[in-house]
């Protein structure tokens, strides 16, 4: 068995370990994460079915009411960004990262020459790809029920998906921070709870005009409000101000969440 190993080794000049560089490292980490995505369907499929279900049920339950309250509102289009946001929020490789930490694979990675930041950014590349893919069935359902991007066309559709994926990417910082800080799968799962204030204290279900005063006031401080408004604006045309505010809101969430994530990464690497 073992005589084959080492007895006729590939020459040392061929097997030469060398640094890949930052982007090469990121590509290596993301290639593993992407390879594992289809093997993790038990986590991905429920995360996709839930927003599809809520999209249909919410429209069924509230559309007539919304039509009466706000004239000219296309409630199906109003709900589509919410479905995208629900699909991508909290759906990260953070659970896999926890398994890597508890199983020792993360230590294996730390002992390779891979750049420390690439360990996290590589996973986020896979997350971003997943978010773009997860948007497809949601958009398809939207088309099936009559939502269209007539005012902005294909480019509007792409920007719509991009904003959803960017929101998901910004938010991943929270579960990654928890994963790296605790190494506990239950704690990572609970990071989804952070999403509730974002989702329920905003204009997810009805417009601000028909809300009670206190809730309407809170929505002004919720970045999700601006992300949703930016995405909804794409159904009506190109509104630079709405899109700019949406991008700023996503960046603000990303800045906070990713700062926490990378600080947690540094802490874990330092603790050893």
């Amino acid at each position: 068995m073992s005589s084959a190993v080492g007895s006729r080794p590939t020459p040392a000049e061929v097997v030469r370990a060398r640094p890949l560089g930052f982007f090469g490292d990121m590509a290596s980490v993301s290639s593993r994460a992407l390879r594992l995505l289809p093997r993790d369907l038990e986590a991905i499929i429920p995360a996709l079915l839930v927003p599809l279900f809520f999209l249909v049920v919410t429209i069924g339950a509230i559309q007539n009411l919304a039509d009466q309250a706000v004239s000219g509102l296309d409630y199906k289009a109003f709900q589509l960004p919410v479905a995208i946001m629900t699909a991508v929020t909290g759906m990260s490789r953070a659970n896999s990262l926890v398994i890597d930490i508890s199983g020792g694979y993360f230590d294996r990675l730390l002992m390779t020459p891979i750049n420390r930041y690439a360990l996290l950014l590589g996973l986020m590349v896979a997350d971003f790809t997943l978010f773009m893919v997860m948007a497809v069935p949601v958009i398809a359902l939207g088309f099936a029920i009559g939502v269209g991007f007539g005012a902005t066309g294909v480019l509007g559709l792409l920007v719509f998906v991009l904003f959803g994926a960017l929101w998901g990417l910004a938010y991943t910082g929270f579960p990654y921070a928890i994963a790296l800080r605790t190494g506990n799968p239950a704690a990572v799962n609970s990071s989804f709870l952070l999403f509730f204030p974002f989702m329920f204290l905003t204009t997810a279900w009805v417009e601000r005009d028909v809300m009670t005063d206190w809730l309407a006031a809170i929505t002004w401080f919720n970045p999700m409000t601006y992300a949703l408004e930016g995405m909804r604006s794409l159904f009506a045309g190109w509104h630079g101000w709405a899109l700019g505010r949406a991008l700023l809101a996503i960046c603000a969430v990303g800045l906070v969440a990713q700062t926490l994530a990378f600080r947690s990464l540094r802490g874990r690497v330092r603790r050893g």
């Binding site: 068995m1 073992s2 005589s3 084959a4 190993v5 080492g6 007895s7 006729r8 080794p9 590939t10 040392a12 061929v14 097997v15 030469r16 370990a17 060398r18 640094p19 890949l20 090469g24 490292d25 290596s28 290639s31 593993r32 390879r35 594992l36 093997r39 993790d40 890597d100 199983g103 020792g104 694979y105 230590d107 294996r108 990675l109 730390l110 002992m111 390779t112 020459p113 891979i114 330092r270 050893g272």
Partner: protein
């Protein structure tokens, strides 16, 4: 090197040198600080104080170069159950920046470490022994200059253990690879290493070639298991001519000697004269466990 976790000193004043091409064994019971020392040398844990050089590079200031030069198989096989063996090795090759053709060549070279056909199965289907061997193969993907093996055979069945031993010998003999091995198995340290460091409570208690260390105790050890007063038994044995050192451990009295066969009868007579009831009296060649007993007053208790 020194490493402190809170109030616990895991490694204290550890000072050692391993020559290129050597198999160095770190021997000690669980909790002695072996794994912590390895984690510091592999750049995985920082030192509280001190410095270390691996493959000519400082582990604190040149950690990237250290990582390029070492291969590591830690105590628990660090594998992803959702990957196949082949994918595990290919990814490992990528992490070290190997070219595609070099990765393919190395995978074919290392595949025989696993059972026939296992390389394309998911790691989650592997036995414990297979996982350890895949872990070893992954550590070897980039032909490291220095290989760290942290208890590479703990928990393995005898056949798997023998295979890993053979592999370690081949790597050292054929490739001149420097191997730093931690173990709690005395026979492993005896069989594989050219030098051993005995670690106890974070400190290096002794260091040398296994035979050299054993000679410091004596060539044989007479062990008497007694019921009753072990101190009286030790005193009686200590009076016997040819006995160089006596240790008590539980109900066992161990006596080091240069010639076990010639002292066993006088030991039996001395114990009878002292009125000590003996349940078992035996002679065995000195082992590293006897060295450990002499140095620390305790035996290495192996935990599977």
């Amino acid at each position: 090197m020194r490493r402190v976790y809170g109030d616990v000193v895991a490694v204290d004043s550890l000072d050692l040198e391993v020559a290129s091409g050597e198999i160095y064994g770190f021997l000690g019971p669980n909790g002695a600080g072996k794994s912590t020392a390895v984690r510091m040398l592999c750049t995985l844990a920082s030192m509280t104080a001190g410095s270390a050089t691996v493959a000519g590079y400082d582990v604190s200031t040149q950690s990237d170069q250290v990582r390029l030069s070492i291969g590591v198989a830690l105590q628990e096989a660090a594998l992803d159950g959702k990957l196949t063996g082949r994918e595990t090795l290919m990814l490992q090759g990528r992490y070290y920046g190997l070219e595609r053709h070099a990765i393919a060549a190395r995978v074919e070279e290392l595949a025989p470490l696993l059972e026939m056909g296992a390389i394309d199965r998911r790691v989650s289907t592997y036995s414990g022994g297979m996982k350890r061997r895949l872990d070893l193969a992954a550590a070897l993907m980039h032909n490291p200059e220095v290989l760290f093996l942290d208890e590479p055979t703990t928990g393995l069945d005898p056949i798997s253990r023998a295979l890993v031993w053979e592999q370690i010998r081949n790597l050292n003999r054929d490739l001149g690879m420097t191997i730093f091995l931690t173990t709690q198995y005395l026979e492993e340290a005896d069989a594989l290493t050219s030098r051993v460091g005995i670690l106890n409570e974070g400190r290096l208690a002794a260091e040398g070639a296994p035979e050299e260390l054993k000679r410091t105790v004596g060539s044989d050890v007479v062990v008497a298991r007694v019921t009753g007063d072990t101190e009286a038994a030790a005193a009686a044995i200590g009076e016997v001519r040819g006995i160089s050192h006596v240790e008590v451990y539980g109900n066992e009295v161990s006596a080091a000697t240069g010639d076990g066969a010639s002292v066993v009868s006088p030991v039996a007579v001395a114990l009878a004269a002292a009125g000590v009831e003996v349940t078992d009296l035996s002679i065995h060649p000195t082992t590293l466990d006897d060295v450990f007993l002499e140095l620390t007053g305790a035996r290495i208790e192996v935990e599977e």
